[in-house]
Amino acid sequence: MDHTHDPQATAFYKPDETGGKSGLASWIFSTDHKRIGLLYLSLILLMFCAATVLGLIIKLKLMTPGSTLLSPQQYNAMFTLHGVIMIFLVVIPSVPASFGNIFLPLHIGANDVSFPRLNNFSWWLYVIGALLALTSIFTGDGAPDTGWTFYVPFSERTTTNVSVAVIAVFILGFSSILTGLNFITTIHRLRAPGMTWKKLPLFAWSLYATGWIQVLATPILGITALLIFAERVLKLGLFNPAQGGDPLLYQHLFWIYSHPAVYIMILPAMGVISEIIPVFSRKPIFGYNMIAFSSLAIAFAGSLVWAHHMFTSGMSDTAVLVFSFLTFVVAIPSAIKVFNWLSTLYKGSISLDPPLLFALGFILMFSIGGLTGLVLGSAGTDIHVHDTYFVVAHFHYVIFGGTGLGMFAAMHYWAPKVFGRMYDHAKAAWSFWLIILGMNVLYFPMFIMGLQGMPRRYYDYLPQYAPLQMVSTWGSWFLAAGLILMFWNLYQGCRYGPPATKNPWGGATLEWTLPSPLQHEAFHHDPVAPEPYDYKGVNPDG
C-alpha cells in the first residue's frame, strides 16, 4: 500500500482539490462515472425502500380476508405503484446503472465511459422520470390503478393519472437506452491494450449483452407508452375495438420490450455472480466461453419469447406453439450458467464471506424461480397458473431472489472498494439468513396458492386462502428485518468501519489493483490486461 498519504483523504467522493465544480453541483453535474454510479445507487436504494414499504403494506392488508386496512381503490393504486417503482425505477437500472457505471470502466482499464456527459444526462432523465412518476401519484384524479402493465382498454378508460405515469415510463426508457449505448461503445472502444474479448471480465460481458437489449428493445416500450398517452388524449382508437383497434396489439408491443426487460434485470446480476464465485473459490471460472456466450444467447433468444405472457389472451394456437417452444430454448443458457457456477465451486478453496453467501443465495433462489418458469413456459400448465399468485411468486423469486440478491452481493463485494471501509461480516451473514428465510416464507406459499387458483391483483380473497396468506405476511416481516439489518450494517461499515485494504477478497480484475477507496482518477497510465480469473500470485491482503 501507498503509505505516503491516506487514500481516504483523496477519495473520489471527497472534493476534488484540482479544481472544477464543488458542493452539490460537483455531484449532480458530475461526469465522473463513479460519482454518477453512486448517485444512481442512492436513488435506486431510496426507491427500493419506498416500494418495499408499499409491498409490506400490501402484505399487511392481505393478512386476513375482509381486511379494511386499504379501500379497494387504495389497494389497486398501491400494487400498481409497487410494480411501477420496482420495475422502472429500481430493478431495470439496479446493477448496471450503479455498479455497472462504477466498475465497467475499471474492469476494462478505462478512466471513464465513452460519453461521460451523456452518462450524466442519463441520470438526469432518471431523476426527471422519477419525479414525474411521483407527480402522477399526487396529482390528477388519483394514483394510477392499472397495474404496472398498463393493459388496454382499462388503461384508456380509467380516470386515474395514467397519462403522466406513461410519460414517466417513456422518459425512464431513454435513460436506460442511453446507458446501454454508452456501455456498448465503452466496451468496444475503451478496453486497455491487451484486453482482448476473451480477457473481458464476465461482468462486462453481461453488461454488453444487456446493453444491446436496452438499445434494441427499450424504444418499443417508449413508443408503446406514447401510444397509450395518445389513445387517452387524442382517442386514436389503435387499441379500441369500437374504432377498429385491437387490444391484443398493445399486449404484443408491451411484451416485446417487457420480456427482454427481465433479461435486462437479471443478466447484470448474473455477471456479478460470475465475478464473485471464482474469487471466493480461488479457482478459475468454469467454462468462461460458455458463460460469456450464454449471456449473448439469453439476450438474443430472450427477445423472441415475449408472447408467452399471452397464452390465454386469445392469440392463435400456432403462436402459442411457437412461443412455448422458444421459451424452453431460452431456459437452456440459464441452466448452463448455474451448472458452470457450481463447477467453479468444485475443488475450489472456498471462504464463505458475505459476498459469496449472497451469491449462493442467488443460485438457490434463481434456481427455484427458473425451474418454476418451466411450468409457465409449458402451454398446458401456463393456462392454469397464468395471472395467479404462482406467477407473482415465480417473478419475485427470479427478480428479488435473483436480481435483488445479486445487487446485495455486489454491494457486499464492492463496498470496501468504493468506500474504503469494511462492514461487520457476522451481521452481514445474519442479515443474509433473515432475508433468505423471509423471502421463502413470503413467496413460497404463493406458489401453492397460485396452484390452488388464487388470482393476482385481488384486494380480497376467499377464506380458503386465509392460512397461507397469513404465513406469507409473516414472511414479509422477516424479510423487512433482514433488509433493515443489512442496510444498517452496510451503512455503519461504509461510514465508520475499519479501513479496507486494496484487495480484501483477492480479486484478479483490475479494480482490485486500485487503492480503496477509489480515487478521482483510476489509472494514471494504461494498465496491463490481467487474466481476470487467474489467482496465482493474487491473494487477499486483508
Binding site: 379494511t68 386496512l69 379501500s71 379497494p72 389497486n76 384524479d141 392499472t146 397495474g147 393493459y151 382498454p153 382499462f154 378508460r157 380516470t159 375495438p241 385491437d246 387490444p247 391484443l248 480461488r282 479457482k283 478459475p284 471460472i285 468454469f286 467454462g287 468462461y288 466461453n289 390465454t312 386469445g314 394456437d317 424452453f328 437452456i332 441452466a335 448455474v338 458452470n340 457450481l342 465451486l345 475443488k347 475450489g348 478453496s349 472456498i350 471462504s351 464463505l352 443460485i363 438457490l364 434456481s367 418451466l374 411450468v375 409449458s378 402451454a379 398446458g380 400448465t381 401456463d382 393456462i383 392454469h384 395471472d387 396452484l451 387458483g453 388470482p455 391483483r457 380480497d460 496465482k536
Partner: protein, 428 residues
Amino acid sequence: MEPKLVNAVQAVDNTFLFIFGVSALLLVGITAAMIWFVIRYSRKRNPNPATFHGNLLAEVIWIVVPTLLVMGMFYSGWHSYRALREAPPDAMLVKLTARMWSWDFEYENGKHSSVLVVPVGKPVKLALTSADVLHGFFAPAFRIKIDTVPGMTTYGWFRADKPGEFVVFCSVYCGLQHAKMITSIKAVSQEEYERFLAEKGSGLGHPGKALLDSKGCLSCHTLDGTPSMGPSLKDVWGREAVLVTPDKKEKKLKYDAASLKMMIMGPRTGVVKGFEPMMPAYQGQITEDELTLMLDFLERGDSSVDGPEAGRAVADAQGCLGCHSTDGSDIAGPSFKGLFGGKGLAKDGAKVDAAYVEAVLKDPAGRIGKPTSMPAYPGLSDAERGVLIKFLESLGGTPHTAPAGSPADVPGAHDGTAPGKGHGGERQ
C-alpha cells in the same frame, strides 16, 4: 387412447407432475451439490484449489441433457394445451359476456344467467367476449383460463365429470371490483339442467316469477288458474280462501302480504281447504329480498313488468349493480339509494331526474362533464330505460349528499357525517 376421450384436466396435471418432478430433482441436486462443495472444499479443508478452466464433456452433457428434458416438457405442455383447446364435437355452446364486474352467460335457448349451470358429463364450449375491458374466465377446477376481449370472441371448453359448485374467478385485472368478480359453475343432473333452462330468465320478465320457478313453487302452484297440488297463484292477491286449522276448525283467509308470507315462510296456522298439508315451510330458504320480489309479482302480476322491480332486473342484467349499490354505500359510483332527487356528480350541479339519468346513460362523460369509468349504454331500449328510472325513483332514502369524489375510499370520510352507517372506528 381415443383423442376424443382425452381428459384435459388429467393431461394438464400430468404435465404439472412431470415438470415438478424433474424440477424437484434438479433443485435438490443443485442445492445439495452447492452445500457439499462449500463444506468439502472450504478453505480449511482444501487450502489448495484446483486450477482447471473447464471440461468439455461435462459441458456437453449439461447442454444436451437439459435440452432433452425441456423438449419433453414442451411436448407434454403442448399436448395438454391441445386437450384444453379442442372441444369435442358434441359440446353444447354457452356464450359469455364479461363486464365490470359480473358475468352474463347465455344458453342455446336464449336464457341468461349470472352463474353457469351445466349438466354433468356434457362437454361445454364457451364463446367469450367482453362488454368493456379485458377480463379472464378462470375455472381452476377445470384448469381453464380464457381472456375475454372486447370486439373479439375467444373459445374454450370444459366438462364437469361430477356434480357440484366450482368457483370462477376473473383473472385479468379489470379495475375497482376485480377481486369481487367471482361466480361459479354449477354442475347438475341433466333433468335439473333442463328444468333450469325452461325457467324464465332474468331478462325483462318479472324476477319474482323466476324466483317462484327456481324455488320450485310452480311445480305445485300453477299460474294459469288451474288447481294442482296446491291452489293456483293466478290472481291470488286479495282473493279469499278457507283455512282449515289443525283442530279442524274453518276460518276465512284473505291473501295479502302478511298472510302470503305466513303461508310461504311459516309457521302456518292451517291448510287451505281441499288441499293436503304437504307444503314445506320455506323459512331460511327464501331470503327477505326474494320474498319481496315474489310478493310483488303476486300482487301486480306481469303488469308490473314495467314497474320498479323490472327496473331492478334491468340494472342487474346490465351490470349497473357492480358499481352502484342499492343500500346507500358507494362502490365505484354513487349508490342508487337516494340518488334520485339528490345532487348528481355533474359539474353543473344538476339534480338527478329522469332527463339527467337518460343523458348519463347515453354519454356519461359528456353529461357529468369530466372523465368517468362508466360506459355508455346505447343498447338500452326505451322501455328498459323507463323501468330503470322508475327503479331509481323507487329507491328513496337520504338524498345523496356526499361531495363528489370522496366516496368510501378515504378513511375517516364518514366521521360523524353519516349517522347509522356504523363505519365509525372500523379503520382507526
